[in-house]
């Protein structure tokens, strides 16, 4: 590993609503070592060069999902991307695409929060269990069905990768659909009837045109495109099977 300090140019999209009409790029010369992430570069800028630069971060280890940004035009976690991989070129950092910019690299995520709430991302039991009845039991095979989709950290990289969401923010989007799928697949859950109307809706799964970039950028290998597309089949099945199943037979 090269431990000597080198200098990289970081070009950061700035937007200060109280004084800027539109966002603009500002360049900073940042000293870095091989072990420094883009997030650490931004922290250097904030500490040493420009204290007013705003960005979200918390865990520094790709768990909290706070530091999603466009890095050289690609949605990435700033803590999970090294400065050395762009050096000697200029590294460009922008706020996550497809979301309104609140300030600098901070996006407005109210829309996603509302969607997340709407899908009821928690286990809905048929008959609630009393604490005294103990835990819900689940086999490893049952866990395996949904485990991948439960790895989502709500970092919103998939939304920044989804042109359909960028063109129409009413689309429920990859992340929320992955979580719909995660809970619907859970053997302890009986809430799919409450969630499926969101899947069937005009702004549900059929807004997806299978671009597939969401799954490519996902830092947790959730494969949201898979969740969305499986639910296209589920939605179609639901639509056609209602003609042949007796009333009330569905879950």
């Amino acid at each position: 590993m090269n431990t000597s300090e080198r200098m990289i140019t970081m070009e950061v999209l700035r937007y200060r609503p109280e004084q800027d009409e539109t966002p603009f790029f500002q360049q900073f010369l940042v000293p870095f070592t091989d072990d420094m992430s883009v997030l650490q570069g931004l922290q250097y800028i904030k500490d040493e060069l420009e204290g007013s630069l705003s960005f979200r971060w918390s865990c520094r280890m790709a768990i909290c999902g706070s530091c999603g940004m466009m890095i050289n035009g690609v949605p990435k976690l700033a803590c999970h991307t090294f400065l050395r991989d762009t050096y000697p070129n200029t590294l460009r950092v922008e706020a996550l695409a497809h979301f309104p910019i609140e300030r600098d690299l901070v996006i407005v995520m109210d829309d996603f929060m509302a969607k997340l709430e709407s899908i009821r991302p928690y286990i809905i039991a048929d008959t609630p269990r009393a604490l005294s009845e103990g835990e819900y039991l689940q086999t490893p095979a049952q866990l395996d069905l949904y485990e991948q989709f439960s790895s989502c950290i709500n970092c919103l990289l998939c939304y920044a990768a989804c042109p359909q969401y960028g063109l129409n923010s009413k689309f429920i989007g990859p992340g929320a659909m992955a979580l719909v799928h995660r809970y619907n697949l859970d053997s302890r859950d009986s809430g799919s009837a409450q969630r499926m109307p969101l899947v069937h809706a005009e702004e549900g799964v059929f807004n997806c045109t299978a671009v597939g970039y969401c799954s490519q950028v996902c830092p947790k290998k959730v494969d949201p495109a898979n969740a969305v597309n499986i639910n296209k089949t589920e939605s179609a099945k639901d639509y056609f099977l209602r003609f042949v199943t007796p009333k009330g037979a569905g879950k």
């Binding site: 966002p23 035009g73 910019i101 960028g166 597939g212 970039y213 898979n226 499986i230 296209k232």
Partner: protein, 132 residues
Amino acid sequence: MSARRPYVRPMTGWWRKNPFFIEYMVHEGTAFFVAAYALILLASVVVLGQGEAAWNRWLEFLMSPLCIIAHVVILLAFLYHSWTWFNIMPRTLPPILINGTRVKAATITYGGLAAAVIASLIVFAIVARLAP
């Protein structure tokens, strides 16, 4: 009054901003050639119904250099379309379990491509057998 003034970035030219989106537009664009070939097949059926003279004129048209070039272009677009179609296929399927283990994405993609190749060979064999 709130000092918030969220800035919404325009989406114009979004598909040119990322190589992944450019490839997406290209492979979606190849669907046009698939539709075009379906129309050629459909036209053939209609002409066949119009009798032998019409059919022979149609065959002559199909053998014109321009038409052959068009067919080569359509074939290339078809090949690329098939590749991208089977490439995205694993993302559209629920997990397939064989003996308790998940079939890998690459196996689904190459399995689909193999099926397409075998189906094409069968069609070629039938055509070769029927050809005068």
